[in-house]
């Protein structure tokens, strides 16, 4: 797996101050630090490269031009930029419609599929991505941020505005839902 790079938080503060003073190099540094991550996040959410590109650019533009709205009090810039990306994703869903809004959290497992026989190691990345996109909005968020973005539970909690415990519980439920979604795909 190729790393996306360090998800900075504390390191962002000096850069943000420089951006506020009009330092173009600092703008570039923040852009380089977050563009790939945001692109990866929105691509995982939407599943379309073209949309991901537009939304990633839109997110970075909003984030770097509206720093006057960002108050570095308790919320890291990284959390803020992910929230912008999340909101942009929701807006996109509203405009274009979501592929699936069916929650699989409480869906019963198909009788013909044995979870223990699910060979997740052999599943393609695309199957995994597609199955994730069948989950609820929060479940998608937590799985993408925790496993694709390699963020800690605390970082995800900050982005989602939840407690760490709530994120861990959500992560557990999301993995269960993903397992069921994958079972459904295996049966089909």
């Amino acid at each position: 797996m190729r790393p996306l790079g360090k998800a900075a938080s504390d390191d962002d503060r000096p850069l943000i101050e420089r951006v506020r003073k009009g330092d173009q190099d600092a703008v570039r540094a923040l852009y380089e630090r977050y563009f790939d991550r945001i692109y990866n996040y929105v691509y995982a959410r939407l599943g379309r490269a073209e949309d991901a590109e537009d939304l990633a650019i839109d997110t970075m533009t909003r984030g770097l031009t509206r720093l006057d709205l960002f108050q570095d009090q308790g919320v890291a810039f990284s959390s803020w930029i992910y929230r912008i990306a999340h909101n942009a994703t929701i807006d996109h869903y509203r405009r274009h419609g979501k592929v699936s809004l069916v929650s699989l959290e409480h869906a019963p497992a198909l009788e013909s599929a044995d979870p223990s026989e699910l060979a997740v190691e052999q599943m393609s990345n695309e199957d995994l991505h597609a199955a994730i996109r069948d989950l609820t909005d929060e479940q998608q968020q937590v799985l993408i941020l925790r496993f694709f973005q390699d963020l800690t539970a605390a970082q995800v909690a900050s982005i989602m505005g939840k407690s760490v415990g709530a994120v861990q519980a959500l992560q557990h439920r999301a993995l269960g839902s993903l397992e069921r979604a994958l079972q459904g795909r295996a049966v089909n």
């Binding site: 797996m1 190729r2 996306l4 951006v19 009009g22 173009q24 703008v27 570039r28 852009y31 563009f35 790939d36 692109y39 990866n40 691509y43 995982a44 490269a49 991901a52 590109e53 990633a56 650019i57 970075m60 533009t61 770097l64 031009t65 509206r66 006057d68 979870p115 223990s116 699910l118 997740v120 190691e121 599943m123 990345n125 995994l128 991505h129 799985l143 496993f147 694709f148 390699d150 557990h172 993995l175 269960g176 993903l178 397992e179 994958l182």
Partner: protein
């Protein structure tokens, strides 16, 4: 660890191995160009958020520059300059901050020299009215210098006598310059102004010589002390026509 937890752990591990979506280089470049343009536009717009504040700052800066420029310009300004009134203000301020008889004498002699220079310049520009005013100013400064000397003589005659000699030398220099000027002008009004100035300078020296106790200086007029141009008994020679 339950079987379910084990399965979910395996699933989580599998997710961690998924290759991330990486933006194509073109997308990243396009994104940077758009972001940069938006940031520059935002900075420009933000700088216009407080137009009144900017206007005030600009006004203050312009005011400071204007005052500084005016002060600098007024230092060498002549009576026909718009900055000349400011020069008077600066001179008065300087006078208010001058203490001690010797320094006050130097101050008045300096201003007397300045007035004479102004008068010469105004004569050269055919501004006889302004030249006349400058010569009046010259006489005022010499009279003030004489009064300073008078007062100093009462407290310290020796110092007062030395100061009187300084005034005499200054008046002698001025008189020589005025005599030269007198020889150059033909305008009767100008000639009259110059002659009056020379007379008043001589009177100032007489004033400085008066102390009621006698200062031992025999000469109390430019001519009597060997000053003047020596062309006549009067301190002011007959003008050339």
């Amino acid at each position: 660890m339950t079987p379910e937890v084990e399965r979910l752990e395996r699933l989580a591990e599998r997710l961690r191995t998924v290759d991330p979506y990486v933006p194509p280089p073109g997308a990243k470049i396009r994104g940077w160009n758009l972001v940069l343009a938006a940031v520059e536009q935002s900075n420009t717009a933000r700088s216009g958020v407080h137009p009144i504040r900017r206007l005030v700052l600009a006004s203050v800066a312009a005011g400071v520059l204007l005052v500084a420029g005016a002060v600098a310009a007024s230092a060498d300004s002549l009576p026909d300059s718009i900055f000349y009134p400011l020069k008077g203000v600066l001179e008065n301020t300087r006078g208010a901050l001058t203490f001690g008889a010797s320094d006050q004498l130097a101050y008045h002699l300096d201003l007397a020299r300045t007035r004479l220079t102004e008068a010469q310049a105004m004569f050269a520009r055919h501004r006889v009215d302004l030249a006349d005013q400058a010569l009046s100013g010259l006489d005022d400064q010499l009279n003030d210098a004489a009064l300073v000397i008078q007062a100093e003589k009462q407290s310290d005659p020796a110092v007062g006598a030395a100061m009187e000699n300084r005034l005499r030398q200054a008046i002698a220099t001025h008189d020589a310059q005025l005599a030269g000027l007198q020889g150059q002008v033909t305008n009767p009004t100008a000639l009259n102004a110059i002659m009056q100035a020379r007379d008043r300078a001589a009177q100032a020296l007489q004033t400085a010589a008066k102390n009621g106790k006698g200062n031992g200086n025999p000469g109390t007029s430019p001519n009597g002390s060997g000053l003047g141009n020596g062309t006549a008994n009067s301190p002011h020679p007959t003008p050339k026509h």
